[in-house]
Homo-oligomer: 157 residues x 2
């Protein structure tokens, strides 16, 4: 029996509502989902125990904090077997916020967040220096037009 079957629409509605604003009181969620607040607790406990809901994070406008530049990096490795080693090195660079193993040309696809162009240059330098990295392609983000959670209850295919 698949784990997915343990999740019903009540769970999904709770997740959807809390995903819009994780600080919404369970009492309020309860009203919208037409169950008691105790049930919301029990369901969230279950979802956390199952590892489906891992944590809650803030949605921060980094540009207002002086972090004005974000960029995606397509990273080419000398040998693809170096993936794990390079990921470990990238983890040591605080400006790296994500790193993926993807299909396509790149061996690693990563995202970095920097204060300004000079900071970006320094970070790119330190990434270029990582052993095993051949070269990188930089996609600088000029505008973030869409950034939202999955919508479970919209017109999905």
């Amino acid at each position: 029996m698949d784990k997915i079957l343990d999740i019903d629409n009540i769970d999904l509605k709770i997740i959807s509502l809390l995903n819009e604003d994780a600080k919404t009181p369970y009492t309020e969620i309860a009203k919208k989902v037409f169950v008691s607040s105790g049930t919301v607790h029990v369901r969230m406990k279950k979802l956390e125990d199952m590892g489906i809901v891992k944590s809650a994070t803030l949605n921060i406008d980094f540009s207002k904090l002086g972090y004005d530049i974000s960029a995606f990096l397509g990273i080419y490795l000398e040998k693809s077997s170096l993936y794990d080693n390079v990921i470990e090195k990238l983890k040591e660079i605080p400006e790296v916020v994500s790193g993926y193993y993807t299909t396509g040309n790149y061996s690693i696809f990563a995202k970095i967040i920097c204060r300004d162009t000079n900071h970006l240059r320094l970070v790119l330098d330190s990434i270029q220096k990582v052993e095993g990295i051949d070269r990188t392609e930089t996609l600088i983000v000029l505008e973030e037009s869409i950034n939202r959670p999955i919508q479970f209850f919209d017109k999905e295919k």
Copy 2:
């Protein structure tokens, strides 16, 4: 005077701690930052009013919810002036979770989340059909090795 100067280390520490777990009580944050909980409230209110902290969202393991495939899309437009129109169309596709205007080859860089390969195919189809889109390159995410918030207090450059 720059807005950034209104933000001090207390603000950054509060943001950092809440970014790890947005549900941490302000009383607990207060202890760690060595101020009163009232101050944490005042600071968070300020950060929210300034638009620096926009909301809190859940960190969800989508694969455990049956959304097993995520992919980055490099989208080529027929004319780059079509950007705004295409973004609006992409917003209507619920599986599209982000969309960026970036430097580099692609006109739009997007991310989608799908249940399985068949769902992915359907979503790619509907994206291909969007007027103004020439062609797309798909980078399927096989592994997410890094996914974390910015670290303000680590060894930054």
